[in-house]
C-alpha cells in the first residue's frame, strides 16, 4: 500500500503520516525498489488506532503510551484505564471552561446596541481602556 492509499483509507494527510513516522508512532515501512514507502495491514491498523485516539483528543504522548499498552495485551489494563480517565477529566474541565466562555460571549453579543465604538458593549465588557 502506498502512502497516498494509506492516507486516504484513514482520512489522514500524507504529511501527517510522515510526521507520525518521524515521531516514532508509526514504524518505518518497507521501501519499494524505487524507494517509495510501502505499507502493510499492520500499518493501516496502527494508523487507524492513532487517528481514533487523536479524534478523541488524546495527546501524542498519550497515544504513544496507549500504543505501547496495546502492543502488550497480556498486561492488566489498569494503565489504560488511568490514561483514559485522566483524559476524560481533562475533557470535562475544557467543557466547563468553554461553557463559561459561551455564556460570556452570548452576554456580550446580547448587549450590543449597534452604536459606535465609544459605547460598544463588546469592547466595554472585555475591559476598561478609555484612557489607553
Amino acid at each position: 500500500m502506498k502512502i497516498g492509499e494509506l492516507a486516504r483509507a484513514t482520512a489522514t494527510k500524507v504529511e501527517t503520516v510522515r510526521f507520525y513516522e518521524r515521531a516514532g508512532l508509526l514504524p518505518p515501512p518497507d521501501r519499494t525498489d524505487a524507494n517509495y514507502r510501502s505499507y502493510g495491514p499492520e500499518h493501516l491498523q496502527r494508523l487507524s488506532f492513532i487517528r481514533r485516539s487523536r479524534d478523541l483528543g488524546f495527546s501524542l504522548d498519550a497515544v504513544r503510551d496507549l500504543l505501547a499498552l496495546a502492543d502488550d495485551r497480556g498486561k492488566p489494563c489498569d494503565a489504560v484505564d488511568a490514561i483514559a480517565s485522566g483524559h476524560l477529566a481533562e475533557v470535562e474541565r475544557k467543557i466547563a471552561d468553554l461553557t463559561a466562555m459561551r455564556g460570556e460571549l452570548r452576554r456580550v453579543i446580547g448587549s450590543c446596541r449597534h452604536n459606535t465604538v465609544a459605547d460598544c458593549k463588546i469592547i466595554e465588557t472585555l475591559g476598561p481602556r478609555r484612557d489607553a
Binding site: Q45, S48, F49, R52, S53, D55, L56, G57, L66, L69, A70, R73, P76, C77, D78, V80, D81, A84, S85, H87, L88, V91, E92, K94, I95, L98, T99, M101, R102, E104, L105, R106, V108, I109, C112, H114, N115, T116, V117, A118, C120, I122, I123, L126, G127, P128, R129, D131, A132
Partner: protein, 150 residues
C-alpha cells in the same frame, strides 16, 4: 521604585498574567514596548487596562490576531467607529460559533470516553474495551455516530 510606575511583577499580579507572558506580548507587539528604568520595565495604568483586556479576551477564546484587531477597533477614531462596532460584533459572533463547535467536539469525546471507561471490566479480563474502541474492533463502537454507546 521611588517614582510612580508599576513593576512587571505588580502588573502580573494585578492582571493575573505570567511575567513571561507579559514579555512575550511585548515581543509580538500586542503590548507596547514598556518604558525602561535601568533594566526594569515600568508600566502605567493604561498598560494595566490593556493587559486586562487581552487577558479577558484570551479567556473567552479570542486568538492573538483577533485581539490585535479588537484592540485596534477600540482605539480607532470616531469617523469609522460605527463600522468598528459591527466588526467587533462580527468577531465575537465568529468566536461564539467556534466555541460552540469545540464544545460539540468535546462532548462527543466525553461520551465516547465515558462509554469506553464504563465498559472496562477488570474482574473478568476478556480484553480491554478501551483499546478495542481505539482499535475499532468493538462492534458497539466502530460506528462513530453512536452517541450513546453502552
Amino acid at each position: 521604585m521611588t517614582q510612580s510606575g508599576i513593576a512587571i511583577g505588580a502588573l502580573s499580579r494585578m492582571c493575573g498574567c505570567n511575567i513571561e507572558t507579559i514579555r512575550y506580548y511585548e515581543r509580538i507587539a500586542l503590548m507596547p514596548r514598556a518604558e525602561r528604568r535601568g533594566r526594569y520595565r515600568v508600566y502605567a495604568e493604561a498598560d494595566v487596562a490593556r493587559l486586562r483586556f487581552i487577558k479577558r479576551a484570551r479567556g473567552v477564546g479570542f486568538s492573538i490576531d483577533e485581539i490585535r484587531t479588537l484592540l485596534e477597533l477600540s482605539t480607532s477614531d470616531s469617523a469609522t467607529s460605527r463600522n468598528s462596532c459591527s466588526n467587533a460584533r462580527q468577531l465575537a459572533s465568529t468566536n461564539l460559533s467556534s466555541v460552540r463547535s469545540r464544545l460539540d467536539d468535546l462532548k462527543r469525546m466525553e461520551a465516547a470516553l465515558s462509554a469506553a471507561i464504563a465498559a472496562c471490566d477488570r474482574d473478568a479480563f476478556t480484553g480491554c474495551p478501551i483499546l478495542d474502541a481505539l482499535a475499532g474492533t468493538d462492534a458497539a463502537w466502530s460506528d462513530d455516530s453512536s452517541r450513546n454507546a453502552p
